[in-house]
Symmetry: C2
Subunit: 746 residues, 2 copies
């Protein structure tokens, strides 16, 4: 695989979008792609570092900028906006996870300056950032390179013009080995220690500066014209779980410098080589699709948390969008990729939910319920982080009320669903018996307290928001009711398994204190939970939906711009929906529906969906491929695979759309490959777009690593490691054994 993404036009306005798509990261650190020679508001993302903020409860902190450089030549500050830009080339190499920049400038005194750099956020050494750069000038003179740790960074708030400074500077020190800055969040919960050292290949005079803006190293060199001067900047960023922050930072910096750039770069490349061996997906016959797909996978991998203190966030380590909060995006859209490709990482992300189970219990109690209710938006502490209102004007007098935090309750069932899916795919009993079970039981308990009994309808769930957020305060959301039922059934099922399994399973039952009687109650609710009415086979999204004003949309278009003003202002009164809702439920709970029912519902809802949420197209695409709506499935797949590269939703600057990226992988896995798990057997039902000849991918199933080549008429499966796996395709069953390959044909 060799995937490079090049950009050759410099436009200060477009930089914010490049900032996201050229982000480099390793789960712990994220560095956005803005060019290092220009100022930007974006510092560094340190995953898991949050602080209190107006309206959004807690938000990911914009940590000090460490990648920036300021260059002066003969007293002239060198920057893209100052000098005439002769050449601008940036290239993201996703194979090696590097970003190169090449810039030629004409100085105001008619000289030439060539600058090129290679940037990486080290894959293996999670705290290390490297920037190697070369400078060549067309006249003799004095070159000054300032390499700052810029501590006076801020977060943009509910308006870009309102900013929040989250960090106090606790320490700034200049030592022979490099400079150091330590900052602390305002709430005192986190510290970040940063050590940095700029090394010049040629002898240079070195001093340091400290100011309200931060600390910087300054190298000054007497340079000869047309010679190339090379520098390496080493940066170590540690967050405060490390004891002796400063000592450790300097130590790691020292280690990195003794190894030197080349060895570290090799190690980084090797790390990514291993990643791609596992995560890469090849598509024969459609290189464009393959590029977008692996670009999505690249950014998912970069955002993969290093431990369970934080989970994957909606916009990754890439930006401030959704404030670094964790949504159902993670469990329903992104996690299946990790479960199949990096199952240990998936486990950690679920452990994040487990670690916050007490907060979810408090949350349920606060809202008058029992068990555990997960927050719609979750930050580092697991409490509800959804804003309840956001000001629309500067004075704060006009506000918009946000109800998702109070009403979008399906998240709790979504997490239980993901726990079970993880167990189904991985067979990780250690997790399931100890942690997963507890989540499933406590969330079932929540639903049992959340439902109400209605004489006519049975158990109902009132006043919710389903995935379709255009309709608030609705009763009996199809998605919510069905997912809640599924959650209750799961709890009963795993209660039975646990009861009969002993060991950790039983201990968990005892700890959670679940009785047979309670489980009976759950089953009773599950049985009698109300399923919204069906008309001509079509399920009503929620009570009363069928009575709303109808409006038909072109399924090949997306967004709200196309709607007439009066519709746009009254969306809640129409049948128009924001995103897959009934279809999302039918995707997740596929086995509960026959294909013809799914088709009827799909045909009905697809022409009433704006896809204004980036979460809409993936489930529709998967179901479309099941229904052999190949064109639509392909169209949605391509839109999703290029959502950020083409900035299709116009908000790529705020971070990468990781739910969509996870969705892209699921379209491949569940849609085009048609992979499903039934009774411990992998079923494959290929639905490749016509021009695709083959899809080659690898994934884990219960610790067995499989390599597959899927065509519309043949499926080849190779077992690379682990125990035998049962495979079913084209109505045929087979078993693949270690080191063997099997072929199943139509």
């Amino acid at each position: 695989m060799k995937f490079q993404f090049s950009f050759k036009e410099y436009d200060p306005k477009a930089e914010a979008v490049y900032g996201t798509i050229l982000t480099l990261g390793n789960g712990h650190i994220g560095i956005r792609g803005e060019v290092e020679l220009e100022p930007t508001i974006h510092g560094t993302t340190v995953a898991g570092v949050y602080d209190y903020t107006p309206y959004f409860y807690r938000e990911i902190v914009n940590a000090p900028r460490v990648i920036g450089l300021q260059i002066f030549f003969n007293g002239e500050p060198i920057s893209l906006s100052t000098q005439k830009l002769l050449k601008y080339e940036r290239e993201l190499d996703i194979e090696n996870a590097t970003l190169t920049t090449k810039i030629d400038l004409k100085t105001q005194n008619n000289g030439r300056i060539h600058y090129e750099s290679l940037r990486l956020v080290h894959g293996k050494k999670k705290s290390l950032i490297l920037l190697k750069f070369r400078i060549k000038v067309s006249e003799d003179g004095i070159l000054t390179v300032i390499s700052p740790i810029k501590t006076n960074v801020v977060n943009p708030s509910y308006r870009d013009e309102i900013m929040v400074k989250h960090l106090k500077v606790k320490d700034m020190e200049d030592k022979e080995e490099g400079i150091y800055a330590e900052v602390e969040t305002l709430d005192g919960k986190y510290r970040i220690g940063i050590a940095s050292s700029l090394i010049s290949e040629t002898t240079a005079k070195r001093i340091s500066t400290k100011s309200a803006e931060g600390i910087a190293e300054v190298l000054t060199l007497t340079v000869k014209k047309d010679r190339t001067y090379e520098f390496v900047k080493y940066v170590v960023v540690l967050s405060s779980e490390i004891p002796n922050l400063k000592e450790s930072a300097f130590q790691q910096l020292q280690e990195a410098k003794s190894l030197g750039f080349d060895k570290l770069y090799d190690e980084h490349k090797k790390y990514w080589d291993e990643i791609w061996k596992r995560a890469k997906i090849e598509i024969d016959g459609d290189k464009e699709a393959e590029k977008g797909l692996n670009f999505s996978i690249f950014h998912l991998v970069q955002s993969m948390p290093i431990d369970s203190r934080i989970s994957l966030t909606a916009r990754g380590i890439h930006g401030f969008g959704y404030r670094g909060h964790v949504f159902w995006d993670t469990e329903i859209y992104a996690l299946p990729f990790f479960m199949a490709v990096f199952p240990k990482k998936a486990r950690e992300m679920l452990m994040y939910r487990y670690n916050n189970l007490n907060a979810a219990r408090e949350n349920a109690k606060l809202n008058g319920y029992r068990g555990a209710q997960f927050p719609w938006e979750s930050a580092d502490d697991g409490y509800e982080a959804t804003p309840s209102l956001i000001p629309l004007d500067m004075t704060g007098k006009k506000v918009v009320r946000i109800y998702t935090g109070e009403e979008e309750h399906h998240i709790t069932a979504d997490i239980a669903y993901a726990v079970e899916l993880y167990y189904k795919l991985t067979g990780d009993e250690e997790f399931m018996s100890r942690y997963g079970l507890e989540i499933i039981l406590e969330t079932a308990r929540f639903w049992a307290s959340r439902v109400k009994y209605d004489e006519k309808k049975g158990y109902i769930i009132e006043k919710v928001i389903g995935p379709d957020e255009y309709h608030e305060h609705v009763n009996n959301s199809f998605f919510t009711n069905l997912m809640a039922r599924y959650n209750l059934i799961l709890a009963a099922k795993y209660f039975e398994i646990a009861k009969n399994s002993g060991g950790e399973w039983i201990k968990t039952l005892e700890r959670v204190n679940v009785t047979e009687k309670e489980v009976q109650k759950w089953l009773n609710i599950a049985e009698k939970i109300y399923t919204p009415r069906q008309e001509n086979g079509i399920f009503e999204e929620f009570d009363g939906y069928f009575d709303l004003v109808d409006y038909i949309l072109d399924p090949y278009d997306f967004g709200e711009e196309r709607l007439p003003e009066e519709i746009k202002e009254n969306l809640g009164k129409t049948k128009i929906i924001k995103q897959a809702d009934v279809i999302a439920a039918q995707y997740l709970l596929k086995d509960q529906f026959d294909l013809e029912t799914i088709r009827k519902n799909f045909d009905y809802y697809i022409i009433r969906t704006t896809h204004a949420s980036s979460l809409s197209m993936p489930p529709y695409a998967i179901v479309a491929s099941w229904l052999d709506y190949e064109d639509l499935a392909y169209d949605y797949f391509m839109k999703c695979a290029f959502i950020d590269l083409y900035n299709l939703y116009g908000n790529t600057q705020d971070g990468f759309h990781l739910a969509t990226a996870g969705g892209v992988w699921q379209i491949i896995f569940r849609g085009f490959c048609g992979i499903d798990i039934h009774n411990g057997e992998i079923e494959i039902n290929p639905k490749l777009p016509k021009k695709w000849k083959a899809i080659r991918l690898k994934f884990f199933f219960r610790e067995s690593l499989l390599s597959l080549e899927i065509r519309n008429d043949t499926v080849k499966v190779k077992l690379l490691q682990g125990r035998d796996v049962k495979i079913r395709a084209f109505g045929k069953d087979s078993v693949v054994k270690h080191g063997e390959e099997i072929v199943l044909s139509k």
Copy 2:
């Protein structure tokens, strides 16, 4: 007079206080005193430029920083925090309104750098700022001086960590004559155009840079050791009432540069010479008091608005305190100084109120009243700008409710009071007949709609806050009821005068549409307005005050720190008051009380006042001097005169306490000199502190300029210009004629 204020210790934390007390300004432009070589959040104040902001409605905008410099020597950035500081000397010369800075630094390469500068905000040329500086280095090398217009400035908001960016950059241009930046407030209401040029005495290479941070000129010089290199920075700051902003800015810049620094400096010194000829007050026998007094006057003069678009703000052109809002501070505390010394300026400040009379009418209507109700806090548009709540924590979940905007209604009577005082002092009939009368009538109309009739008490005013803000929602505040009554009586009095005067007077009556019947009603209300009960001669501050918990305080101390925690948390339930309230009324309405009643009230309230407001001590000091409480009067005078120099209230960093500064002048004028106006005659009743031998001051009375030397046993009065003035002192009457001096003795 020769007053210099020197500071020789550099402390980054103290810089914020120096920032305020070393502010230079000319009413239009304010430049805080932070040293130009270090970054600071403070840009430039351009009086009258406001923008919408969270909680505070509209706030004064932090305009681009223009005074900053960045210096590099041989590639080494030169700053106080980077190099070893060998010498730091700053001197504010209030005689010439200049700030000099002398800095010696040892570079990290053991070189020496000497920097010295002279800064001024031109007194006469209201848009001009000059910075002349010299640099000397101890080795040969390359010197780079960057002179930026830093456009990426922000305002700190309700917490320093939350910032608001008010300005969009509309234009940045580099021309041969200099650089230019134009910014616009977010609301689109104001533009600021800034042209700047840095001139080196020695040949220098010049380039310019543009970035997200602003535009900058960069001069690079090859320098020889031990030679002094001199530079002059010219800056022109225009706000958008000027047409052709850019053209005008460059034109003014060009004019300034052709005149050159020396001529401009001479003109500036002459301007201040004229100011001091009139405004200076000499105290024989107490040079310290004289220094503090004239320091206060200096900052009042610097804040004097250049036209009536904005009035004097609570913290001047000196900082962001109270967001640049205008309070009763202006009319009651600061304006008397301007009425007596710069009467034309006082008129403009009252015209600011007149210009916002329609907003005050709307405000009254909005609150269910008639006439005109002035807002407690007023910004550029005259609408209520008091926050109704302010968040106490980052998430905004804990808030403090602020009731002053809804309840502190006395401001409306205070403005009417100031209008009459202005007329009494200046005899400005043109103002009074046309504008002042309209204010007095419309404010009386407000009070007539504000009172309620109570069978027992007569006309009452419920639910207000008096000057003592510890007690909210009180009924029949002594201060408020008496000032309201005074307002009604004034209206009736000037209605009579107007009726019998014809011309503009009558036109105003017609415009405001006041009838005899309405005036009769006002008089009826005034007659029957309830005066809070009196016990042993002491007036109750408001209904029920006497029933509160008592607590006695040392009158020589001030602030809330000394209070026990349980008292501090329940101030509203105690008799403790924040500031002069009953006594403030007795000061303002002196003629309504005999001295013994005032003494009883003073003795009672003085030991129950925390003086937690900087507005408290001036009225107490004046009344203390009337009561021959000389020690206390002197103690308060000195505290007030040094409030900011010694940062007594701990918030000098937010701006200068202009109400106190005005109060300091009033203690001299009304207290120690004992000056009062009765029936067009000036009464003088000296009460000089023992060690003071004489006070010499000048002021205008009805266009006559008087020069006085006041001793405890003699009063000398000279009439410098204008018509004869009647003088009364020591029980003797006299008349001073043009060019003559009279002496009255005990």
